[in-house]
Symmetry: none
Subunit: 207 residues, 2 copies
DNA sequence: GACACGACTGTTCATTTGCCTAGTCTAGTC
DNA sequence: GACTAGACTAGGCAAATGAACAGTCGTGTC
């Protein structure tokens, strides 16, 4: 990749910092102000040079569109993502994402075989209703919201305004939720079954 | 943090995805187009709601400025370490570290409550000898070599030149290994008991 | 000296874009 | 029924913004 002049490097650094720290890319005027240019054209020239040299992608005429090309961004080893960890998920979560997620869990998408665009959250398991599937109280279930649940999947479902894990089963084409513990009853939903995601992995801390 | 409606969640997801994947935040019109709104006001309403509920930061009148607040973004990894994942551990492993570990697993030391100087490796569980402790065939056990095993700990021990998981127990002051499955026998070692580490966590892939 | 190029000033212009007003429809709640 | 809130349509305005044009100045280089 073609080398940059020192000034171009400064401009690139500024754009990149702004992008990662504030979430938005600066405008030509903001770049000009940052470096004390009296004219935006100076900033535009630098941006044009960075484009030409392949450091920025750009959508013509779109505001704030000089984003640093993804491959150049601070790369993360493997595909590690911190996902929110919920204790109990209040009613309607999958839609809500109430931010009571104080904690997060690092999930390695790659080693779990997840697609990069999967929507993942983590749920702390309460109770032993899934004990016969070897899912214990205190386990952390990694849930994929973007996966369509199939028969036999362990799913996070909304029951009594709380999210719990159950196995998804079908009977005469109608879905119901099976607890993997004979002391618990299966749930045949009267109306709509609210499934928030499919469990794709499990993490257990062993003190 | 206040809860979101399903539509608001969708909009937030779209903004966040766009921000991380393309580097730029979508405009009101792009949001409207994405969701098929005929009017931008619909998009603006959602963005306003997200702002009010604290999910987006925003600079008035600035283009593409609805960035997802930094704290909510996928955060940089913490103390992440790739540890070797062994299938079966050959005899004398702990000293050798034969690099036949084709695979590695990313482990977040912090969220697992591990000390930074812990010596960690991963072991794929074979068989169901620990099934009553809800450790299944195919699970990945995270083992700490630097921890001193206590009674009741699940340990990786060297038996018949292979490493397997058992529960450490004591009888008259003498240690022995208990299988958590009545079909398996407990092991009372005749000579020395070779314990390679204590299981500190478990990861299970659910297809 | 002629030429190229990077860095910059000053100004203008067409679009892009956020945001406002005004209103409809639906669902839920007291 | 009255009331509230969310979700949406329709149209329009003013600010924000990228980009173009026309130059200047300095530093190399052939």
């Amino acid at each position: 990749m073609e080398a940059l002049t020192s000034r171009q490097q400064q401009v690139l650094d500024y754009i990149q910092t702004s992008q990662t720290q504030h979430g938005v890319v600066p405008t030509m005027r903001e770049i000009a102000r940052q470096f004390g240019f009296r004219s935006m054209t100076a900033a535009a020239d630098h941006v044009r040079a960075l484009r030409r040299k392949g450091y920025l992608v750009h959508h013509p005429r779109a505001a704030r569109s000089h984003s640093v090309i993804p491959a150049m961004q601070t790369m993360v080893p493997r595909s590690l993502v911190n996902v929110p960890l919920y204790g109990t998920i209040p009613a309607g979560f999958a839609d809500e994402r109430t931010q009571e997620a104080e904690r997060t869990v690092a999930v390695d998408f790659e080693s779990l075989g997840l697609r990069p665009d999967s929507k993942i959250f983590a749920l702390e398991v309460r109770g032993d209703s899934m004990i016969n599937r070897h899912i214990c109280d205190g386990d952390i279930a990694i849930i994929d919201r973007s996966r369509t649940p199939k028969q036999g999947d362990v799913v996070a479902a909304l029951i009594d305004r709380e999210s719990t894990l159950k196995t998804l089963e079908f009977e005469n084409g109608r879905p119901y939720l099976r607890a993997e513990n004979p002391h618990y009853l299966n749930l045949h939903p009267s109306h709509e079954l609210l499934i928030q995601g499919v469990m794709v992995a499990l993490v257990r801390r062993h003190v």
